[in-house]
C-alpha cells in the first residue's frame, strides 16, 4: 500500500525578477519518506525551498503545489507553517532583541491555536523544550539569547533543528543544513532529524554532500539541475554523484 502523498509538485515554474530558476519541476513526496535533493550550485535547490516556504521574492509563473491536498501557493508563509511545513534555512536570520524563547513560544502557540489546542504556559514550554535542547546539545542560557545572534554556524543549524523538533512538522525541508558543520555537529543534527522520522512525516534534504546521507539515509535521491529534476534514484545514486559529480547526469539527460 502506498503511503499518503504529503507533497505533490506539478510542472513548477518560478523566477526571481526576470530570471527563470525553476523550469517545470515535478516531485512527489509520500509520508514516511526522506528525499534528498542534490545538484550543482545555482541549480534551483534553494529556490525550491524558498518557494515552498512562501518567500515573496520568488514568483511562481505556472504549475502547482499541493500539500496535504491543499493548494500550497494560496497560503501565506505562516499558514503553510501551521499546516505542517517547516523550512530549515540555509542562512538562518539573526534577530537581535528577540529571545529564542519568545520566538519558539510564539511559533508553538500559533501552531496550537491553529489546531484548536490550548497554548502552552512557561512551565509547560520549559518541560517540552528541555529534552530537545539536550538532544541538540544546546546550553540552557540559549533560550535567553537573541535568535541566532552571535551564534556559530553550527549553533545556527542546530537551532534550526531544535525549532523543527518543537514544531513537529509533517514535512521538513532542510536547506543545506549540513553545510559548514564539523563531523560532531553533523552527527548531532542527523540525530535530531532522525528522531522525527515516522510514517506520518516526510523530510526533504537539500544538500551538496553525500556525507549527511550516510547518517540520514534517504528513500529517494533526486538530481536537480537547470531548474528541473533530471534523474531520480535510491541512496546509491547519491554515492555515485559523490564520486562522479553531476556532468554525467546532464550528458545522459541531454542525449535522452
Amino acid at each position: 500500500m502506498k503511503n499518503e502523498t504529503l507533497l505533490c509538485i506539478d510542472d513548477l515554474h518560478a523566477r526571481v525578477e526576470d530570471r527563470m530558476i525553476l523550469n517545470g519541476l515535478n516531485l512527489e513526496v509520500p509520508a514516511g519518506e526522506v528525499h534528498a535533493i542534490m545538484g550543482p550550485n545555482a541549480s534551483g535547490k534553494s529556490t525550491l525551498a524558498q518557494v515552498l516556504a512562501g518567500h515573496d521574492n520568488y514568483e511562481v509563473t505556472s504549475g502547482s503545489i499541493r500539500f496535504l491536498g491543499k493548494d500550497l501557493l494560496s497560503l501565506s508563509p505562516e499558514e503553510r507553517a501551521r499546516e505542517g511545513l517547516f523550512l530549515a534555512f540555509q542562512y538562518p536570520v539573526e534577530i537581535p532583541g528577540v529571545n529564542n524563547a519568545y520566538l519558539l513560544k510564539a511559533a508553538l502557540n500559533a501552531h496550537r491555536t491553529a489546531k484548536g489546542i490550548p497554548e502552552v504556559d512557561a512551565f509547560e514550554f520549559m518541560r517540552l523544550i528541555k529534552d530537545k535542547m539536550e538532544l541538540m546539545e544546546m546550553s540552557t542560557d540559549f533560550l535567553n539569547r537573541s535568535v541566532n545572534q552571535g551564534f556559530s554556524g553550527g549553533e545556527k543549524k542546530r537551532n534550526e533543528i531544535l525549532q523543527m523538533l518543537m514544531l513537529e512538522p509533517r514535512l521538513a525541508v532542510l536547506d543545506e543544513t549540513d553545510s559548514g558543520l564539523d563531523v560532531d555537529a553533523l552527527k548531532v543534527v542527523a540525530t535530531g532529524i532522525n528522531s522525527l522520522r515516522d510514517p506520518e512525516r516526510a523530510t526533504i534534504l537539500v544538500t551538496h554532500y553525500e556525507r549527511l546521507l550516510e547518517l540520514v539515509v534517504p528513500d529517494r535521491v533526486h538530481v536537480l539541475a537547470e531548474g528541473t529534476i533530471l534523474k531520480s534514484g535510491n541512496h546509491e545514486l547519491a554515492r555515485t554523484l559523490d564520486k562522479r559529480g553531476y556532468d554525467w547526469v546532464r550528458d545522459e539527460s541531454a542525449s535522452a
Partner: protein
Amino acid sequence: MTLERLHEAYASALSGLEVSDTSRPLRDAAMDSFGKLGYPSRRREDWRYTDLKPISAGNFDPTPAIPNSDHIKHAHQLLDESLLDPNVSPMIFVDGQPEPGTHPPELSGLTVLGPEQTWEQIGNLQRKELYERHPLAALNTAFASSETLIRVSEGSKIDQPLHLVFITVESGKVTQPRILIDMPQDSSLTVVQHFIGEDTAAGWTNLVTQITQDERSNLTLYRVQEHGRAQFHTELLESKLARDAHIKLGYVDLGGSLIRNDVQIDLAEPGAVCELFGVFLTSHGQHVDNHTRIDHSAPQTTSREAFRGIIGERGRGVFNGKVVVHRGAEGTDAEQSSDNLLLSERGEIDTKPELEIYTDAVKCAHGATVGELDPDQLFYMRSRGIDEGTAKGLLTFAFANDVLRRIELPEVRKRVASSVAGELPDYDSWGGLL
C-alpha cells in the same frame, strides 16, 4: 507665557519661593539673561526642528506649585501604578516640590542636600556660557525648585540606586527641578530620574541636571520619561569628566507631548568615557527631540552613543548628535548611531549626526538609518507560523529592546521594556510572550 508675563511672574514668584540670600543674585542674573536671550527660536540651528511656540504661547503659571494634601494623595496613587522598582523607595517630588517629610535613603557615603548647599554649588559651577548654550537653563535657574544636591563621598561606591520621581498632578504649572550630582574621586553611583503624570495635566517641566565628575568617578543615570500625554518637557543634562571618569546615560521617552532633551558631555581629561543611549516612541502628535553633544577635549577619550526611535502614526522625531574632537584629543574613539523605525507614512524623523574633527589619529564612526522592519527577519518568523502582526510587534519591540538591554538595573529594565512593549502595535497579540 510671554517674556513679559515671565518677568511679572518672577517678581511674584520670589515671595512664593523661600529665596535665600545665596540664590537671589543667581536667580536675578539668570532672569536677566533669559530676558535678553528669550526662548530659543527656530532661527538657531540647534532649534531648527523644534518650535517652542506651544510653550511660549501657552498659558502656564511659572510660579512653583504648593501641592496640597489632595495633590499628594493623588500623586501617590499615580506612583503606586508606575513604580519602576517596587523594592526601592524613591525621593518624591510633586509638581516640582519635594514631598513634605520625604527623606533621602540613608546610604553610607551618600548625602542628599537641600536648596542652600545646592545654590552654593550652582554658584561654584556657574559657567557664563551655559545660558548662551541653553537659554532654558537660565529660566530654570530663575525659577528653580526641588533644588537637590546629590553628593557621594570620595571613594564611596554606592550599590543601591537612588530613585527620584517627579509627579505632575496639577495642570497648567511650570516645574523647574534643579538637580546637581557631585561625584568626587573614585566614587560611584546610579541615579534614576523618573517622570510621571496625569494625562489630563498639561504643564511644562523644564529640568536642569548638572554633574561634576572627578577622577575615576563612575556615574550611571537613567532618565525615564513617562509624563502624561499633554505634558511639555525640556531638559539639559551636562557633565564634565576628569581623568578616567565614566558616565553612562540612558534616556527613555514614552510620554509627553513636546519633548526636548539636551545632553552635553565634556570629556575633559584623558581616559574619560561616555556611554549614552536612548529609546523614544512618538506618535499621535508627539514631538521628541534628542540633542546631544559630546566634546572630546582630551586625548584617549571614548564615547559610545546609540539612539533608537520608533515613529508611529503622526509621530515626529528629531535626533541631532554632535561629536566634537578637539585639537590635541589624539586617540579619541567615538561611535555614534541613530537608528529609526518608521511605522507609518504619516510619521516624520529628522536625524543628523555631526562629526567635527580637529585632530589626527582618531577613530570615529557614525551612522544614521531610517527604515522599516527587516523583510528577512519578518519572513523567518512567519515561516515559523507566527502571524505577520505578531512578528512585526515582536520585531519592533526587539528594535527597542536591543538598546534597553543596556539598563543594568534588572527591575527597571523589565519594567521599562514592558512599558515600551505596551505602546507598540498589536501588543495584545504578542505581549503575553514577554
